[in-house]
Symmetry: C3
Subunit: 373 residues, 3 copies
């Protein structure tokens, strides 16, 4: 890798408040999780018209419902999970199937899958009551390459605008075709930004991830400059290594359409605010981050494979799961130790090395989002 | 049932703050649970002179002690559960029997059952110390038809004044004679007012309680207008149904003294702030509510029967318990879903139907208690 | 015991806020646990150069490391438990052994046992970076008679100054030679000061500790006046009793060097802020207190014996453990009941007896530390 531009002597880590202050945390929830498009899952979880899952986003419970029939193009709607009669939650299940309509258990108000109120017992005689005034509260929803996104803000950029040139960049992986092979959910006692920072440098790899460092050398990386809505880079596989797995060999075909160069690399991209994509020659790992507090984050890690590989007899994701679960746990441990240390009254910002350039840029981005130091 | 007066087009549910704001909750605890008489249990739990139970009311631990001998007329005293020496709690048990006096474990200060300090070791030489200056801190206590009440406020209406015309209304049930047959305690993740509201309309019955709706039709109800300290109404039993139980038949004699009309009805009354009475032909169900936070309430549900029935061989409360536990759990589920939905940032007040007239009146009463919107 | 000076009629217990107010609690943590020397353990836990234990003091995680080799004079260093690079906690273990240096798991920054940064990968090319600018953050540490102390404040009195004349007073027990025989950790739902107050009077003994009262009569005590950094007194063993144990007999030799008079007494001293010493003829009991909140305290109780006794066949600490665990649990129970009662809205200060003179003096000391009522 080409030598990186040296960081200035002012390249210090952030003050503790960015990781511990509840008000600052709430502001980040608002700026990044209410104003931006948030990745909530995969289209593969929604198989039929009426299939839904529920997500807690920035404190709100949101129902994401598929409105297109099986086999038809992706189409989803998202609604706040509450009835317009007396505010009752419509659904307590995380995942399920509506049968053509959504009915409140309490007094049987009923909505169609577009959110229109189609039944409201004993309301018809009420003076001035009109069903069209009480639809479900709708939330913007969209889909990119199988990743379902919602945006709690009514106005602002479209998903395409937020993704910028990423759709073009990731085209070769044809991620929309991939299907979930396995996944693990982690609860991590750390600020969400420390996970993004951990994801964005490999200086820690030789000490923390000796197994990973044998597959892909930490000095092999190359980063793009930080973009307004994402940052990322790539690392090369070592000679003789064919993918990131326990033994570095790949029991699967490479994803169709990858160039020989991309077959020798792993791409790591953090799509703000909450999707971390690691694109391998034969699978894509996707982390979705869910901040639960200044010092708590839930992370859903999933591995997506090509359906033709998954259909093969003897297909397994175990080698990938074993390797990344080990690596993940090493990472979450130090993320939790970083949160603990930074939370101490004694903490003071420390000096970044030149190999932590993306972190420094990300910190600047965060500080600016908050309106300066 | 006669048609009800239509509600105005302004009959909307309350803003979320009434169910979620901690300060507003504290104000309600003060207004309703410190200033009003609160139902704390039944005289049947206190069998002898010195029998006591402890209750947490509005954050205070209160000891309620029977001071009359077995067989004598009901007489109770209530005290704050702390010693006047160094403030030590006098008792950690929920229920028990004092042997003629109440002694602090720490330094053996001793009080009689009227709360007078009768022993204080090593204090007699202390300049100016007089035992009569350090009695237990007393709290008003009274009894109505076996329901024990206390009032944390020293001044204000008597229990009789708070009960208004209810003693006359409930006279036929002779509730003072009834004994507890069974009971269940529920912890419910909802605001205390949502339970009272759930109790005060049956519009939800056809959808939520199909079994109940077969015994007593939801349109059969008739409400009294809201009174300053209570609200309630009645519903009729369907033809062929003799009481509210799993199969609608009644294996017990009706309560003595009920008119033929009352033998065909169930009366539902919410006695503010915390007693919900459901009077059936052969038993009385009593809920007592204990707010634990803006979004948490403990509810003690008990069924009281006539002692002559309870003395019969083969007496059982199981049919009643089974029916009401099923119905209760259906109700608490939607109360929790209502709390969850109302707590969402997206919640906005919704329109009441004409069959929710008591709720609308209760909301107005609550808003006025808070001094207006 | 000589009669004590009577307390004035104004000798009332403290207002509730001293036991319940979070801000007042934080101020005490600062005044007493950040500004004063705090006892953190015994030198016996640190056997070799590089042995360490970690303690949470006033919210900070501190590593206490032995820097002298086995057999050499006591020498310890204390450091904030965080790396100067990105603030990561250096160590999650409570107890362990560093192998000559302290290395951060995350990016392998490495410090020697004096806290000097001796390794920082990829930092050498960074403009203006100097290792000597990033040592571990050091905390003052010292040792008295085997008790290890640290002080989070950089300036202020030395440990010797804080201990005042106690080293002279406790010389006969030669506590530096003693070794831990056994210990129990208790979590107690009470304010730390209520434990000190409980420790400082025996008026509660006849009622609460009948077994203890048979060994050492509660009227036998004599107190010293309160000193700026400690308070204490003594009690006599009853005739026929040779130590405080289940049956009052002593299966061990007395500690060498004690006068015949000291062999008949137990000395109880509270060394502010967190060490309670009970010196018996044949062992020393030491409580260390760790405030966890206004109403929560962790207490480590340990019994220290002479190594020559511990080396004898058949040595046991069981009689001591059994007696004091019983007595401790009686005390913690009433400390928790006192906290509960004082936390009630109904609590008001009560009158002290003349036998609670140290508590009254301690209260005055606390109030003055807070700057008056």
């Amino acid at each position: 890798m080409a030598s990186r531009a040296p960081l200035p002597p002012t390249a210090f880590t952030l003050p503790a408040k960015y990781y511990t202050d509840p008000l600052l945390y709430e502001r980040e929830v608002d700026m990044f999780f209410r104003q931006m498009w948030v990745c909530v899952g995969r289209m593969g979880e929604l198989e039929d018209r009426g299939s839904f899952f529920a997500r807690h986003i920035a404190g709100d419970s949101i129902l994401i419902v598929r409105t297109s029939a099986r086999g038809e193009p992706d189409s989803v709607r998202a609604f706040h999970n509450l009835c317009r009669h007396r505010g009752t939650q419509l659904c307590r299940d995380e995942l399920g199937q509506f049968k053509g309509s959504i009915q409140c258990e309490y007094h049987a108000w009923t909505y169609d899958l577009e959110g229109r109120l189609v039944g409201a017992p004993h309301m018809d005689g009420s003076a001035g009551f009109r069903r069209e005034d009480f639809p479900l509260l709708s939330v913007r929803a969209d889909v990119w390459e199988g990743f379902v996104y919602v945006c709690l803000a009514d106005a602002g950029p479209t998903l395409q605008e937020q993704l910028a040139d990423l759709p073009e960049k990731f085209k070769p992986w044809r991620m929309g075709e991939l299907r979930r092979g396995d996944g693990i959910t982690y609860d991590i006692a750390t600020n969400w930004k420390l996970i993004i920072q951990n994801f964005s440098e490999c200086l820690h790899c030789p000490n923390l991830h000796p197994a990973l460092n044998k597959l892909s050398h930490y000095m092999s990386g190359e980063n793009e400059p930080l973009r307004p809505t994402y940052m990322g880079g790539r690392m090369d596989l070592n000679d003789g290594v064919t993918t990131m797995s326990m033994d570095g060999t790949c029991p699967r075909q490479f994803l169709p359409g990858l160039s020989p160069q991309d077959q020798r690399r792993v791409y790591y991209y953090a799509l703000f605010p909450n999707l971390l994509i690691s694109a391998h020659p034969d699978y894509v790992m996707a982390h979705t981050l869910w901040p639960l507090g200044p010092d708590r984050t839930r992370l859903v890690c999933e591995w997506h494979f090509h359906p033709s590989e998954m259909a093969r007899p003897g297909f397994t994701a175990d080698d990938v799961r074993e390797f990344w679960d080990m690596t993940n746990q090493q990472d979450w441990r130090v993320c939790e130790m970083a949160q603990a240390g930074i939370s101490s009254r004694a903490y003071r910002p420390g000096r970044y090395s030149d190999r932590e350039d993306l972190l420094h840029a990300f910190d600047r981005f965060i500080v600016e989002a908050h309106g300066g130091e």
